[in-house]
């Protein structure tokens, strides 16, 4: 672990980490579900509420101008954070799920026809499966899923073979939320370009772990959520290639997305506002901007190095527990550790470790096809973040030993 990375200082920025759970200090190992917010994010949203609250893009009064500046300022920060070409390509949504639904409802419904195919993988989150099912039902297109290898990597050979002349879209996750697998985006991108197929990346689990550069990835759409990146819930982003976004019809109508409205006919606003109908989540967008600045101040490479080193240490420590099996052992993994304990249902693991003050996720992780692949009803999942430390890992290991005592 890097000596320059001052973990005590990193932790001090997160008020949530100071609370106790069932009388014990909190060991929060569930950032893959939702990461807590640092003080700077909470204060940025608080400032808006106390001093600038008003609507954006509307009034001529000072507060409205300030709110607009803060909201559009957040968009500028997002553009820089993911290296999008311009703020016209940065659309605020409620989260990753809404970002993908935007593409499914606007692009897919107007571009797919009967017999066309959408190619995904077997390790997608439900948010990158169900929107395509809906679009396919509406258009007569077919959803095709590439299988996994037993270690949780994508079967690239099969993936390649599943690209057909009817493939109209490729939609893949960058990091599996259930397994931690990092997908080979450069390889997938090459295939997409080679076949001239637009492709979308679900970045929900990747955005907080290392540098995400959408131009380097080269995808046509990139979706992520604020609350996986130490921002608030209710805000997410869709990055889209401008030419595609221009060609797409709006998906929700209302205020702000229009230039002019007459009863007979309306004209759409320009990008990115064409896809932002109604009053947006202003405070949440400001919070997301602050979260990105916080992450930048820690250094994304430093965070990733810290997390990966700790995750490797954690996997070793966990494997010393009798009957513990790690689900997902890909060569390249994000700091997400899914596991099972022989003879103990994950739900029971979750409850017992919770009473020890350790917060982990148990269940199917909104990735039921992954559970099906492994023949499991559920797994337990510990996920690490910038503030995770050695003590969190020890607490988890001790809590799991307690689970073994109770159930064996």
């Amino acid at each position: 672990m890097s000596t320059a990375y001052n973990i005590a200082q990193v932790r001090s920025a997160f008020p949530l980490l100071r609370r106790t759970v069932h009388g014990k200090p909190l060991a929060y190992l569930d950032s893959a579900a939702s990461a807590p917010m640092p003080t700077s994010v909470i204060e940025a949203m608080d400032r808006y509420a106390k001093h600038h609250h008003s609507n954006v893009h509307r009034g001529v009064h000072l507060l409205s101008q300030e709110a607009t500046d803060a909201y559009e300022g957040a968009r500028t920060i997002v553009r820089r954070f993911v290296n999008a070409r311009s703020t016209r390509e940065v659309i605020f949504t409620r989260g990753t799920t809404e970002a993908i639904n935007l593409v499914a409802q606007s692009w897919a419904r107007s571009s797919l026809s009967s017999g066309d195919e959408v190619l995904i993988t077997h390790m997608e989150h439900h948010a990158n499966i169900v929107p395509w099912q809906l679009a396919c039902q509406a258009t007569g297109a077919r959803l095709v899923a590439a299988p996994l290898l037993p270690n949780g990597e994508l079967d690239m050979e099969r993936f390649r073979a599943l690209i057909s002349p009817r493939t109209r879209l490729i939609a893949v996750t960058q990091v599996s939320n259930a397994l931690g697998t990092i997908l080979p985006l450069s390889e997938i991108g090459l295939l997409a370009r080679e076949h001239g197929i637009p492709w979308l990346v679900d970045g929900a689990q990747a955005i907080a772990h290392g540098i995400v550069d959408v131009q380097a990835i080269g995808c046509d759409f990139y979706a992520f959520s604020g609350h996986k990146l130490y921002g608030p819930t209710g805000i997410g982003v869709l990055i889209g290639r401008e030419a595609l976004l221009e060609s797409m019809p709006p998906w929700q109508g209302g205020g702000d997305m229009i230039r002019s409205v007459r009863i007979e006919h309306s004209e759409w606003n320009e990008l990115p506002w064409k896809f932002e109908a109604g009053t947006p989540p202003i405070a949440a967008a400001i919070g997301l901007g602050a979260a990105m600045e916080h992450v930048e101040s820690l250094g994304r490479e430093a965070i990733a190095a810290h997390e990966i080193a700790l995750a490797q240490h954690a996997e070793k420590a966990l494997l010393e527990i009798d009957g513990l099996r790690i689900i997902g052992t890909a060569a390249h993994k994000a700091p997400v550790i899914s596991f099972t304990l022989d003879g103990v249902h994950p739900h029971d693991i979750g409850t017992v470790v919770d009473l020890e003050g350790v917060a982990i996720r148990t269940g199917h992780h909104c990735a039921m096809p992954v559970m099906e692949f492994y023949g499991l009803p559920a797994t337990a999942r510990a996920s690490l973040a910038c503030f995770s430390n050695e003590d969190d890992v020890q607490r988890l290991v001790a809590a799991l030993r307690r689970v073994c005592e109770v159930f064996r």
Binding site: H345, T351, V352, T362, G363, H364, F407
Partner: protein, 154 residues
């Protein structure tokens, strides 16, 4: 909150060695219960002798609470009439959800399940089998034939 309030010895015992585990064949009624949150799935088969549950069995996959609850239930309701089950079903619902519930009838070992009250995320685990049995009986009542109802806690 203490671990022992939830995982009482009788619950751990019934989880380790579930009673009446398996399937009755032939059966007069059956139903499948599913808890999508945790992936619990249990299947109940029962035989009826007029108004009475003469025999029942369960199988499936679930957490300790749902397995123990199903196991304890099969022991408790075997031999009961529909009317008796209906009273017990109401009592169990209250036992699992109401803090100050003192049942009028002795619930015996089933009282051990009362600990889930303190764990709201786990109430559905304990109640799944009860809803499933209720559905199996109602379905049998309605169709008067084996059908295979599926119920979900979501």
């Amino acid at each position: 909150m203490d671990l022992k309030d939830l995982y009482r010895e009788v619950i751990l015992d019934h989880n380790r060695s579930p009673r009446n585990f398996g399937r009755l064949d032939p059966a007069d009624a059956d139903a499948t219960g599913h808890n999508p949150l945790c992936g619990d799935r249990l299947h109940l088969t029962l035989r009826l002798d007029g108004d009475r549950i003469s025999d029942l069995a369960f199988d499936g996959q679930g957490c300790a609470i749902s397995v123990a609850s199903a196991s304890l239930m099969t022991e408790a309701v075997k031999g009961q009439s529909r009317g008796e089950f209906s009273v017990l079903y109401q009592d169990m619902h209250r036992l699992l959800t109401e803090a100050e519930f003192h049942p009028a009838h002795d619930l015996g070992k089933l009282m051990a399940l009362g600990g889930v009250r303190e764990f709201p995320a786990r109430v559905k685990c304990a109640s799944l089998c009860w809803h499933t049995l209720d559905a199996a009986l109602k379905q049998n009542d309605a169709a008067n034939a084996t059908g295979g109802t599926t119920i979900s806690t979501e």
